[in-house]
């Protein structure tokens, strides 16, 4: 004899369709022109940074770089829902989130240019730097959330990773711990359909990535990740629940990686341009711009002013970055320990000033 032990449901939310037309009722903030304009500007700024970073890498002035082209709505939507007291733990592809949080363009250029000083954020002092070992930031997020709870602070930890990251054990262990301890941590998965050359459906047999939350006893949901309004709204709901002591959750943001995996990758080896072009029709900037034009009288003049402003800002930041001298060899020992142990200090001497 068989009885039902449990049942679950995963929902998917959206606010604007690909053309920018509203689908159903919009969240209140969508009525505020300033707010939406700032979200749009942040996405434009992110894309401009991306373009410059790729250009610098192509000319040997930056290291390997992973563009967020087409995924700007996720970083901006998530970060714009966060408060200063929250803590961001990004993957290597959430430049938009980092920039919104106050990491400077110059700091990002420095990091991707191969200089540790790029992680010494002047702005969000508690935010984690980019995490390269995939999914290893999720356990950190659990620890950050634990510290917030332990100290009675109001913040929430927000960890971001890709679809590939959901295959790793540390992602799952963190999810399970967050569920067991009801920690205030939000797991954001930027499902851009690819992990380098591996398709989303080859990554897991799960029909959605949101359903992985069920394994940890957390709520999971999908959202249109090219819809910055929907992403922000979903994140606001998640953060509100977490702040309210109702624990964490998983948000799967559906998007598409329009560019190569990184500047070291050649996506034409494993996917057709036709596939990519289809997704260009759904990218997040046009969509929000159409909505701004239709609802908040955005126009050519403002658009051009924004582009000029952002271009100038990015170029100026790139110039400042390029003007920064590499640190001296000795710097590689400066922050190994709070104070260098004698044993290692001796070796550091040997290294000399370089």
């Amino acid at each position: 004899m068989s009885t039902r032990a449990a049942s679950f449901r995963i929902d998917c939310s959206a606010c604007l369709d690909a053309t920018g037309k509203p689908i159903g009722k919009l969240p209140d903030f969508a009525g505020d022109a300033e707010t939406l304009a700032s979200l749009y500007a942040a996405m434009v700024r992110t894309r401009a940074f991306d373009a410059k970073a790729v250009a610098l890498q192509r000319t040997g002035r930056l290291g390997t770089y992973g563009s967020s082209l087409g995924q700007e709505a996720i970083g901006v939507g998530v970060a714009s829902a966060m408060r200063a007291e929250d803590v961001l733990l990004p993957s290597f592809r959430e430049h938009g989130a980092q920039l919104w949080r106050g990491v400077t363009l110059e700091e990002l250029f420095l990091y991707w240019g191969g200089d540790e000083r790029g992680n010494d954020f002047a702005g969000p002092r508690r935010d984690f730097p980019v995490c390269i070992p995939v999914a290893s930031q999720f356990p950190h997020a659990a620890g950050v959330a634990l510290a917030l709870v332990q100290r009675g602070e109001p913040g929430v930890a927000v960890a971001m990773g890709g679809d590939g990251a959901t295959s790793k054990g540390d992602f799952y262990e963190a999810l399970n711990l967050a569920g067991a301890w009801d920690l205030p941590v939000v797991f954001v998965i930027s499902n851009n359909q690819w992990a380098i050359s591996v398709r989303r459906r080859e990554q897991t047999g799960a029909g959605t990535l949101a359903q992985k939350a069920i394994a940890g006893g957390l709520p999971g949901e999908q959202v249109d990740g090219n819809d910055v309004i929907a992403v922000r709204a979903a994140t606001e709901r998640a953060l509100a629940r977490a702040r309210d002591g109702q624990g964490g959750c998983l948000i799967e943001c559906l998007t598409y990686r329009l560019g190569d995996h990184t500047t070291a990758d050649d996506a034409s080896r494993y996917r057709e341009d036709e596939e990519v072009s289809v997704h260009w029709k759904e990218e997040p900037l046009v969509r929000l711009r159409n909505f701004l034009v239709a609802r908040h009288d955005w126009d050519k003049a403002r658009e051009e002013a924004l582009l000029r402003e952002v271009q100038a800002e990015v170029e100026a930041a790139a110039d400042r970055y390029l003007a920064i001298e590499p640190a001296p060899r000795r710097a590689m020992f400066d922050h190994l320990h709070a104070t260098l142990p004698p044993d290692i200090a001796a070796l550091a001497e040997e290294a000399g000033d370089g």
Partner: protein, 326 residues
Amino acid sequence: MAEMTMIEAIRAALSHALETDPAVILFGEDIGIDGGVFRATDGLMQRFGAARVRDTPLSETVIAGMAVGAAAMGLKPVAEIQFSGFLYPALDQLVNHASRLRNRTRGRLTCPMVLRAPYGGGIRAPEHHSESPEAMLGHIPGLRVVIPGSPARAYGLLLAAIRDPDPVVFLEPKRIYRTVSETVQTDGAALPLDRAFLLSEGKDITLVAWGAMLAPAGEAVAQLAGEGISAELIDLSTIKPYDRAAVRASVEKTGRCVIVHEAALTAGFGAEIAADLAEHCLTHLIAPIRRVAGYDTVMPYLRLEAQYLPDSGRILQAARDVMEFT
């Protein structure tokens, strides 16, 4: 001040840290109501509450990773890995994060965490419960590796590890958790990290050991004394970064050295000590540097365990060989 075994001294240090520093938090498997499988945290959850002494799910990766995240936020996590044989899933977090968070953020985020783990053989434990991984950990820049050699040193070094602003792996030689007691000043005084302890002075030969190997090494010293050989015994205590100056000074005096560890010989930490001497004290060496270590094979199950672990006999033999070398 009281007579204590090492496990009691560790408990006393943890208890003192919890009392005196609100940032200290303990978590691990079965460390709460059960007090840890070796009772290192016995009574601490009852005394300091389930919020500060937490049982985790069975997840070593998240135990280590959570410690990194919590430490970066200003807590001082003291996490327990139940046995060092189960520490490997935590290694990625130690190598790629804990050891370099300060460095990669230029000091903006730091990682004042301690990862405790019982290690080593000699207690007839099941498979995978008796290995010695200190050499692997000792190769990780930015990480400290400490192994206490007595109850008093366990107390003082664990407090030092917890107070240290950087990550420390604290490996506890479980074989001597309860075998010896000594007077421990439970006054909250820490002992210095990165320093070796001279257990007995001698002029003919230097023995370097740590953890549970100090006992057979001590027996060897006594034996040798009977044979008119004056042996100096050094407890390395901090494996990484270790006290090169102390070891060099001793060998420059004695001209002879035998290094003892439980872990397999090849690429064991004894190799680093011998290599350092071969570079910096060569002209003082009267005899070859010998390493008495676990054999280069898998740690056998308990029926052959005693045949694998170095004992005073093997140490003595090596010391005599070195003394007789001409």
